[in-house]
């Protein structure tokens, strides 16, 4: 399982991706207010996550897929990827955060909330993208299509997360946000349950 | 309400809305009949 982690995706590519996106952002907007900062943060993160998740499943295509099939159970295979993606996401988040702060200021006031939101989001996003990446890898056809198509599925997490982050940035006042956090965690649990049930079907080939 | 002595008088009532109703009803019934026709055709093919 550790071997899985090591061989994931190329780190430099991701760093480059994050840096370039934030730089583009900076050039496009002279000064962003809190709301836009939050949205941009998440969009950059989500795009990078989609990209890396897609890459992380490259070794399950074709013949290599059969190799892994013979040595471990599908759950182990899948969840090692998920864990790898999770840490990658965490890394990318930190990176994006630093880059954005460098270029456009740092409007987050409530750090604990922001951190909690982020962790909950990383869990959900890594599960979601791993699931879709897995699905994608099994298709021989067009690759780039699926991340685009996964956008609507992102929305529950993304919308909640943007709302909560905006609160943590002080751009929106809402005292009852605990329910939103629970919803986020519930969605995470839902995605987890679904992936547990469905991955074995994707695996068979 | 006035007495309805001819069909004409019936349809002219209420700002001729009944004409609209009649038209839309006709369209709808036509579609339903077409669906029933498809249904029966499929049934026939399935019997083979």
């Amino acid at each position: 399982m550790v071997a899985q982690w090591r061989s994931q995706s190329s780190l430099p590519a991701i760093i480059l991706y994050v840096l370039s996106t934030t730089f583009i952002v900076f050039s496009a907007f002279a000064r962003i207010d809190e709301r836009n900062w939050v949205v941009l943060y998440w969009i950059i993160l989500v795009l990078s996550a989609a990209q890396s998740a897609q890459n992380s499943f490259r070794d399950s295509e074709g013949m290599s897929g059969w190799y892994y099939f013979s040595i471990c159970k599908v759950e182990e295979y899948f969840f090692s990827k998920v864990a790898a993606n999770f840490f990658l996401l965490a890394l990318m988040a930190v990176l994006t955060f630093l880059c954005l702060s460098l270029f456009s200021g740092m409007p987050i006031r409530d750090f604990t909330l922001f951190l909690e939101v982020n962790i909950a989001a990383w869990i959900g996003l890594s599960l979601l993208f791993s699931f879709l990446g897995f699905l994608n890898a099994k298709i021989e056809g067009q690759r780039g299509l699926l991340p685009l198509l996964s956008f609507p599925l992102l929305l529950p997490i993304l919308l909640e997360v943007i709302k909560l982050s905006t609160i943590s940035a002080g751009a929106m006042i809402d005292t009852e946000y605990a329910a939103d956090l629970y919803i986020l965690l519930a969605v995470d649990a839902l995605i987890l349950a679904m992936t547990l049930m469905l991955i074995r079907y994707i695996w068979q080939s | 309400m006035q007495l309805i002595s001819t069909m004409e008088e019936f349809f002219i009532q209420n700002g001729k809305i009944w004409v609209v109703v009649a038209v839309i009803t006709a369209i709808f019934i036509g579609i339903v009949i077409y669906l029933a026709y498809l249904d029966r055709k499929l049934k026939k093919l399935e019997k083979e």
């Binding site: 699931f131 699905l135 099994k138 298709i139 021989e140 056809g141 067009q142 299509l145 699926l146 198509l149 996964s150 956008f151 609507p152 599925l153 929305l155 529950p156 919308l159 909640e160 709302k163 929106m172 809402d174 329910a179 939103d180 919803i183 519930a186 969605v187 839902l190 995605i191 679904m194 992936t195 049930m197 469905l198 079907y201 994707i202 068979q204 080939s205 | 209420n14 809305i17 009944w18 609209v20 109703v21 839309i24 009803t25 709808f28 019934i29 339903v32 669906l35 029933a36 498809l38 249904d39 499929l42 093919l45 399935e46």
Partner: protein, 357 residues
């Protein structure tokens, strides 16, 4: 799921019923416009109003009354009403002076009623500026009475100022949405059954349900946009319901794109079934999450919601629920036709292939 003939005819009949009665039952009367909109306390004011769905000239003996509701206690009756047209009249009011404790501006609701059509009201019809009684002013005796609320005989649909006749769209636009959700549910269910049994027909049924659901969803969006253009002002206003339906459609469009990108039929069935179940499971919280977001972002859509759920009059229910059931049944019928056609076609293809091998 194959439907009995009786259900199919019943479904069509229910829709026909909702079509006819939805168009024919008249609306309650309403107040369309009021002139002037502002007045000062203590004035005598002539309010000229135009009503909807009334005909004052119909009967010589008609009795028209009007009230201004200032607050729960002060209900001012018009001293005189002159009918100036079949839908217009002028009501004369003696506005009282305000008390010390009153706010500087008060808005009054106009209530009109007549012996033939029943009552109608317009909230915030007139804004009244505060003025306290000067001892030099002549004492006025405004007429404070109870409002008489008359209901005419027969069934009517409620009158909403922004909607007017378009309230009837509730019976034609909203059931599409209900039907779409049920069909998506059935599609996910069939996907589950496919994954468990690997029978090809389940995959075909799942796909048929999804297809008809998308058709209904698109129709729902289009009809909703048309309705919105003339009531909310624009075809698309990022309303919660519009957004959620668009997202649902995107998810299932992806389902079909996924289907078309895999050539091996077993693999296609398997992978798309997983996607279907996953997507549907995620769709449900989405339906709950999105309304939460707009609640805290802005105060909701001005005007009336397109979904009839919250403000269904009891008369409307009699036409609405049958319409919903009718459209669900029609959706089931349409999906069934599609599925049976696809099953037949796949059988023909298998026969064809077996001839070659």
């Amino acid at each position: 799921m194959q439907l009995n003939w009786t259900f199919k005819i019943f479904g069509a009949a229910l829709i026909l019923y909702s079509l006819i009665w939805g168009l024919l039952i008249p609306l309650k009367p309403g107040v369309v416009s009021v002139e002037p909109r502002k007045a000062t306390a203590g004035q005598n004011v002539e309010i000229e109003y135009e009503a909807y769905n009334v005909d004052y000239l119909k009967d010589e003996e008609i009795e028209v009354s009007a009230w201004l509701l200032l607050d729960s206690v002060r209900t001012l009756q018009a001293t005189d009403i002159q009918i100036t047209g079949s839908q217009k009249a002028v009501a004369f009011f003696q506005l009282p002076y305000f008390k010390e404790s009153d706010p500087s501006v008060m808005s009054a609701t106009l209530v009109i009623t007549d012996s033939i059509h029943g009552y109608a009201l317009l909230p915030s019809a007139i804004i009244i500026q505060k003025k306290l009684q000067d001892s030099a002013d002549a004492t006025q005796n405004p007429l404070f009475t109870q409002v008489q609320i008359d209901y005419p005989e027969g069934s009517t649909f409620p009158f909403r100022n922004i909607l007017k006749e378009t309230i009837r769209n509730t019976y034609y636009h909203v059931p599409l949405w209900f039907s779409m959700i049920i069909l998506f549910l059935l599609s996910a269910y069939k996907s589950i059954k496919y994954l468990r049994t690997k029978k090809k027909s389940h995959d075909i049924w799942a796909r048929s349900y999804a297809e008809i659901a998308i058709i209904l969803g698109v129709l729902g969006l289009i009809t909703g946009a048309i309705w919105a253009r003339f009531t909310w002002g624009a075809f698309w206003s990022w309303d919660v319901k519009q957004f959620t339906s668009a997202v649902a459609l995107l998810i299932y469009l992806s389902y079909f794109i996924l289907r078309s990108s895999i050539s091996d039929p077993d693999k296609r069935a398997r992978l798309t079934a997983s996607y279907n179940i996953f997507a549907f499971a995620l769709l449900i919280p989405l339906l709950f999450i999105i309304p939460r977001l707009t609640d805290s972002l802005h105060p909701g859509n001005g005007g009336n919601p397109a979904m009839g759920g919250e403000d269904l009059d009891s008369t409307m229910r009699w036409v609405f629920y049958p319409a919903v059931i009718g459209w669900i049944l029609m959706g089931l019928w349409l999906s069934e036709l599609k599925a049976r056609y696809l099953v037949l076609r796949s059988k023909k293809e298998e026969e064809f292939m077996s001839v070659w091998t």
